[in-house]
Amino acid sequence: MPILWAASIRHLLRHPAQLVLALVGLAVGVGTIIAVDIATASSGRAFQLSLRAVNGAATHAIVGGPQGVDEQLYVELQTKDLAGVPVNPVFAPVVDGYVSVGEQTLQLVGIDPLASAQLDAARTDQSAQTSLDSVRMLAGGDPKDWFVRPGAVVMAANTARELGLTVNTKFELDVDGRAHPAVLIGTISDDQPGYDALLVTDIAQAQEWLEVGGRLSRIDVRVPDGAAGEAAAARLATRLPAGARLEQAQSRAHQSIDMTAAFTTNLQAMSMLALLVSMLLIYGAISFAVVQRRRLIGILRALGVTRSEVLTIVLSEAAVLGLVGAALGLLLGSLMGHGLVRLVSRTINDLYFVVAVNETVLPASSVVKALLAGLGTAIAGACLPALEVAGSTPQLGLRRSVLEGRAVTLARRLLSASAVLAAASGLVAATSGRSLFAGFAALFLLLLSAATLTPAVLRLLARGLARATGTLSPIARLAFGDVAASLSRTGVAIAALGMAVAAMIGVSIMVASFRESLRAWLERTMRADIYVTAPGPGAGRPERRIDPDLISAMLAAPGVTDYGMSRRITLDLAAGPIPLDAIKLARGGYANMVLTVGDPRVTWTAFENGAIVISEPLAYRLQLRVGNELTLPTDFGPRAFRIAGIYREYGNDRGTVLMSLPQYRRFWHDEAITALGFYLAPGVQLERVAADFRALARGRQLLFIRSNAQLRDLSMSIFERTFVITRVLYWLAAGVAAIGLISALLAWELERAREVAILRSLGLTSGGAALLIEIQTGFMGIVALAAAIPAGVLTALLLIEVINRRAFGWQIDVHLSAQQFLNALLLSITSALLAGMYPAWRVARTSIAGEIREE
């Protein structure tokens, strides 16, 4: 046995290029998975920590409508004996909202440190004295300042450094377009995690800044663990007034995390793609390593080495390769993760909630995943060639023609396998109902089908071309004939490339279709000339509102003929937070709304009479139909609203509820307006009116005043940002495929160096030899592209009709254009030509004599 191992190691060491390329491919595949893991886990953890940073000991929270709960409820809970509640819950009030300091958006959290301290102390069941985590945030500052100094705030030391603030520096913060003076009275040390996106202040200060006097965002509650605590919570829930309700703290945290579930699933699927591609790469590398040693193995077998010994040695090589690849992948993934986390957290901030990720975490499960992925991929990739070489009889093993013969049979078989995979993909997609996971399974089946199709197409086309060009040029004939006859070496690399290209085409079409649908939707729905919105993050935050006096002034401005207005808030449904848009449209405004279900006349009449209209994602997610009722938490307690229609909306992947403004004001004590759209008289200069508006707002409130076109551009740029990660990931997968191709071609060329040398001795110039190789590789690239185009279109359809629908619930119109295939063309041809370069260069400068000395 030792001699077998020695032979194996010597072989691997003698062919380092092959080894290195296979390892790089595997490392990139594993690394992509790890990077995505790191990015999503870090964002999730940062968010969880920020939730726990304030009143982390809370088991429940009392929440209300968009305006929160009345502060008097807190007073009653604190000062009245809660008759019938067996264990005393501990309460702590919170007022929160978003503010900006310079360019940075922070969550303003107003607390009562005394109440928070007692809530925290209740966790340890100690006297309140022993644990005052919440007040610890005062550390470094003068506690008197906390209560008495106007504008006193505390933030993480990290954040203060980023903003260039030190203790006792005064600065301005911006709430809803209004500037307020603030002063940093203390910082929270960096070893206390979760405060990075928070600005902590006294509850009184928060109420004043956010202009929510008399209201609390929520009341955090802690009841003891166990049955007594649960009973207390249950009793407490029944004693709350209409419009307030008790929620579990855990479920509140989960809701926010769940919001990003579809998003992270997509990321993970994209990272799987890179690994899948690398699996084919390993297959190629191992089978080549085996082919190269076919003589050696044949001799060993003839000398009495058993099949299982050969199998063991080949699989062991793969396992070592897998482990090393996994280790390198972990390293690479950690590096990539730091970059990716930025992209992920930015997308989360754009779409979901404010989170600051200053720390990346590598989940332990990811390390295991990396090892399994590396090992599994390598062994799975090596299985086929290992079985093959072990299974062949000693003499046959010596002959390459046998292998090529097998490859030909294999290519034929693969053709049928491809058909089966495609059919399976269709079947899975059609029968799996709403499962997003099954949707991705169908996607991978389809991509595998594309992969298995490519070698067969390659062979067919190569043979056809060899025949067709044979009369014109012997070199061309030689080139194509050679390609057709060398499937054992190049087939897998081409398959990998085909799969990556198919994925790229699919994603390109999907993104482009989405973009076009979004553009068309924006153009149809955004008809007003000027849009005015209250600034600030968090689309559904109640503190976003436009000064009422300013509204009247703007409406009276010359040139304004009509207007629409809306109030956007966020409702906490059992299914998670959902935005509610209360709208009053301009004359004829309903014509601009796209109903996907419902007759416009019937729907909008019902809407004016109090019914609601919901967006596609919401309808899909909650499985709601027209005619159903949706219960919303109003200020008068839960109320059921009839659904009169379903409309198209790409603004929110969680779904949106649309309600008429008068109806909203009947059920919520809220007269505020978040956004306005103004229609101008014909001929009126848009810039002039916008300037008038700015003059009106100056000194009163900072407003976003944008033209229709600006707002559309803004929406489109957010859209583009969202898909940056997708692009990064598919380029990674493509990179793995390109490496695979280079590695395969290199192997092939090295192997037939002698062949080429003979050709050269027969008169082929060195330039001709290089050209021969470039023609061959370029041809392979074109074949990969040709096979990938139909598969890519199918992939796009699957992404649009199955994946997007299941993940987000919206419908996208398919848009096809040549543009979408450009990347794929670029990728396949460039990587193929690049892959051919080194072998071509090598061949051109090889000494003929050296190569054919044996002959």
Binding site: D112, L114, V135
Partner: protein, 377 residues
Amino acid sequence: MRLAAAIVFSALICRAAAAGPIADLDVLHEDGSEGFAHALQPREFTFPQDNGPHPAFRHEWWYVTGNLDAVSGERFGFELTFFRLALAPPAGAIPGAAASASASRWRTRQIYTAHFAITDVARGEFRFAQKYSRAALGLAGAQADPFRVWLDDWTLGVDSAAPGAGWRLHAQGQDYDLTLEAEPLLPPVLNGEHGLSRKSDDPGTASYYYSIPRIAVRGRILRAGRSFEVHGLAWLDREWGSGALGKAQQGWDWFALQLADGSALMFYALRDRDGRRDPHSAGTWIDREGRARALSADQVRIDVMDHWNSPRGGRYPSRWRLQAPAVGLDVEVRPALANQELGTHPRYWEGAVDVSGMQGSVRTEGRGYVELVGYGE
């Protein structure tokens, strides 16, 4: 003599800031009392006004301790204390603060904290609880007429739901829930020099101090769902000021003894850092008719007979012989339970005691409360 409260209070606010500078709020050793009124001269006390808060002063407390007997034979002791602390003088509007129209109702310059402790002699258990709140939105506060001081649902004074009735006292903590009707048996007794209690030579350290040494209480204790009818005798201490403790002072031992014949003794022994009794220690003797007589440091001799080691660290005196020849008193004072330490920060011992010995030539007995401050580290 309840400066203990002040330490506790100052510490609680800045407990958090254990590593940070807390000097500004350390009521005991701090001079930042500009803008506050000071107890410099004896003053005219008027009731019920002086039962209520004195916001011109920086700190103030209402301190009730008492011994209770259940109809079923069990014995209990209790402490319920409310402290008020002003973070800033009640001057005009805070410069730069939001206009008063939009000012939050949570804005405050005063904070309240309260301690509640129960000594369950039969079970040998001692429990304490603590609350804090800002003086805003009616969450905590004090008023003179009708008298009431409260923090959350812990209250002392006239029940707002039943005006016209007597005082009511209510608090609940871990496992224990106390509700008592309270009726003062004596008018307020002014301690020190007509109510001006000097703690050191520095005039700024004085406070105004009065007591109601005998208050009849009756009500119930709920212990883990079981109800006990109780009655007994309580003591109210009231003190307010703006000054700090003298720099050399370490702590004190405070005695409030209620004797069987209706007389009572209050004495606080201030200890300097070198362990010696401070000459500003003082007390008051109240005879059975309620007449007060001031006692100076050298008129009361206290010998420690025993010690108790706290499991939290620190060694407390635990049994005393107290002699006041001027009023013919020679008694032994024994804790009803060794461990009556509140694990607050800083820690202090406040517990029910038994008294027995001679009053003149007559054997006497009694009960009371003792407070020991400055022993836990």
